[in-house]
Amino acid sequence: MIATGPANQDRVRQICLAYDAQPSALIEILHQVQDEFGFLPKDALVEIADALNISRADIYGVVTFYHDFRRAPLTGIDLKICRAEACQAVGSQKLAEHATTNNYTFTDAYCLGNCALGPAVMIDKKLYGRVDADRLDQLLRQKGE
């Protein structure tokens, strides 16, 4: 775990202030904190609660409701494999099995909006289409370089 020191707390507060510390901006704030820190550190959540003047319980409620938010860092690359119907129809199950066999860590996505060019994956927020096992290996190798 990355330890959050005072500097990071300041940064979290800055992000909150950029949204005028509006409670309605909570999801935007969480996205930005996660983008910068890689996950949502506990200290950051406490800081957000304080800055927006809402309870920690409310923040946890929100963080746990949405699939995007994570409270621990990713162990590998940010890989999402589309597991929804359109990609199922063209072999996403096999792709996911290949990823599991090769110990790639990934999260399931339920539709990446690339349904005519499946199987689709997203790596670091970039979309890829017609991804079979070979192409996935190749993409991850490129990313690893």
């Binding site: 309605s24 409701f65 949405y66 359109a86 349904c115 005519a116 979309l127």
Partner: protein
């Protein structure tokens, strides 16, 4: 900065086109042009929606725009060798883009500019009919705008098909005060991508629709709720908003009319249920996306307790052309109570997948066989799931159904957001039914017990059926669970999950009893 001598080229910047290499193709074209000292103007347009041809490169010639595709970075060298910049033939040449049958046969109203213009160029937008609807609306009274929308027959494209004019009238009738317009860009249904294509390819069209909606109901603030799986669309919308603000098409005095409107882009966080309108409002308020009981309806008591219009991206993006060309023009497309055009989206195992905008009334067979050209794998098609994850599995024998709200409902299916996902031989329909239950389990907001727990029981029951355990009794039990979900759910998430499950059992019973027979 139009350079007269430069040749204009188009390579889509659409994220699906880029998912199969459009960025690399664009880069390669620039490099080679530079090394050969050829002056080109390369525009990153939206996609035309013919995904099997992506990356689709177009060259502007005296005869019109000529298409080449699908182009890989390795093809670029040879394209230059045959002098494609002057429209010369090449094995990837497709002729005039507008004459490619898939494109030529469509009726593009909402997507009239998509793939044609430079998405973030305001001059291009106006040259292709943009802002005509907005200027008309600024000259009309709010009542006149609402009347035009009502007369056009437009119904919500997000899935429920509620008449847009009636929704707007309700919000207009609320006492003046802070009202809101929310564009639903959550597009969670698998098999759908039309909202994304529009936002990336013609973002100003959505803004124009929202400003008109604001004028019509007396709202001065708009939100665009974009799902986080669409980072490029969100980025394009943010840039579009900045451009409109700078051009005074947003702000407190739009185009010198005295009308005020401001738009904020908000991002979702990976939750399907946030596409449901009350859940979306909770999410915009920064809360858990829990569904709320209606009434009160959002048009009366919505975002921050104020009157709020929630419309799908495509409903809003259809508004400018309705205002520009009149209600009758739009109404004349379509049939029965389904007026205008629908953006059908062909996905899954389909040879020619993509966007087909056409009047309501086309048959599913025409879409799948004439446009789609059958399966991509070459295998026989077995079923199509229509209308997203909560939609029915339609057997090939029902492909003659006409695609409109009522006709599809009569045939036991659902239009939804217009997605069609093709499955070919080899698909296990019991597994698909199980997935429907699993999806409900994952995405349930948790408010109703039938949805939260019933989906888990449904999944477990299907697991038993799939290994041949007491198939008959378990199918009966599953039927009861489905009935409970249908009757006891607050929203369509739990309420419609039985649709894919029961249609799979009805049409593909053989997949549910394999083990037992042996």
């Amino acid at each position: 900065m139009m350079d007269q001598s430069a040749i204009t080229l188009y390579v889509p910047g659409d994220s699906a086109a880029c998912s199969v290499g459009a960025d690399e193709v664009a880069q390669r074209i620039s490099e080679i042009a530079q090394s050969k000292n050829i002056h080109i103007k390369l525009i990153r347009n939206g996609t035309r929606g013919m995904f099997w041809l992506e990356p689709l490169v177009e060259v502007q010639t005296g005869q019109g725009r000529l298409a080449y595709g699908p182009v890989t970075p390795d093809d670029v060298e040879s394209l230059f060798e045959v002098d494609f910049l002057h429209g010369k033939l090449h094995e990837l040449a497709l002729g005039l883009t507008n004459e490619i049958p898939y494109f030529a046969r469509q009726q593009r109203l909402t997507f009239a500019r998509c793939g044609i213009t430079d998405p973030l160029c305001l001059v291009d937008y106006e040259n292709h009919g943009g802002l005509v609807g907005l200027r008309k609306a600024l000259a009309d009274t709010p009542e006149q705008i609402v009347e035009t929308v009502t007369q056009s027959g437009l119904r919500g494209r997000g899935g429920a098909g509620f008449p847009t004019g009636i929704k707007w009238k309700t919000a207009l009738e609320q006492p003046a005060g802070q009202k809101y317009i929310c564009a639903n860009a959550d597009e969670g249904d698998s098999g759908t991508f039309a909202d994304r294509i529009l936002m990336e390819g013609d973002p100003f069209c959505l803004l124009e629709g929202m400003v008109i909606a604001g004028r019509a109901v007396g709202a001065s603030i708009g939100y665009i709720y974009v799902r986080s799986e669409y980072p490029d669309a969100a980025q394009t919308m943010r840039r579009a908003v900045d451009i409109w603000r700078a051009a005074k098409l947003l702000g407190d005095d739009i185009d010198g009319s005295g009308q005020a409107f401001e738009i904020h882009v908000r991002m979702g966080a990976g939750s399907y249920i946030c596409g449901e309108d009350t859940s979306m409002l909770e999410s915009i308020e920064g809360k858990r996306g829990q569904v709320k009981v209606k009434p009160p309806i959002p048009a009366i008591d919505g975002l921050f307790g104020q009157p709020t219009i929630i419309n799908n991206v495509l409903s809003l993006a259809s508004i400018p052309i309705i205002l520009a060309k009149g209600a009758d023009f739009y109404r004349d497309f379509g049939q029965g109570r389904s007026r205008g055009t629908q953006a059908f989206q062909l996905g899954g195992d389909i040879a020619c997948g993509g966007l087909v905008e056409t009047a309501f009334g086309i048959t599913m067979r025409e879409l799948i066989e004439d446009f789609g050209q059958g399966s991509r794998s070459g295998k026989a098609i077995r079923t199509v799931q229509a209308g997203g994850p909560l939609g029915a599995y339609v057997p090939v024998s029902d492909f003659d159904m006409q695609m409109d709200y009522e006709k599809m409902t009569e045939a036991g299916a659902m239009l939804g957001h217009g997605g069609l996902v093709v499955f070919s031989e080899g698909v296990n329909m019991a597994a698909q039914a199980r997935f429907a239950m699993q999806f409900c389990e994952i995405e349930s907001c948790g408010k109703c017990t039938p949805c939260r727990i019933g989906s888990v029981r449904g999944k477990e029951t299907l697991d038993k059926i799939m290994v041949g355990e007491n198939v008959e009794q378990n199918l009966e039990l599953l039927d009861e669970i489905c009935e409970l979900l249908t009757k006891g759910s607050l929203c369509a998430m739990g309420g419609l999950t039985p649709m894919p499950v029961q249609s799979a059992i009805q049409h593909f019973r053989e997949d549910f009893a394999q083990q037992a027979k042996e």
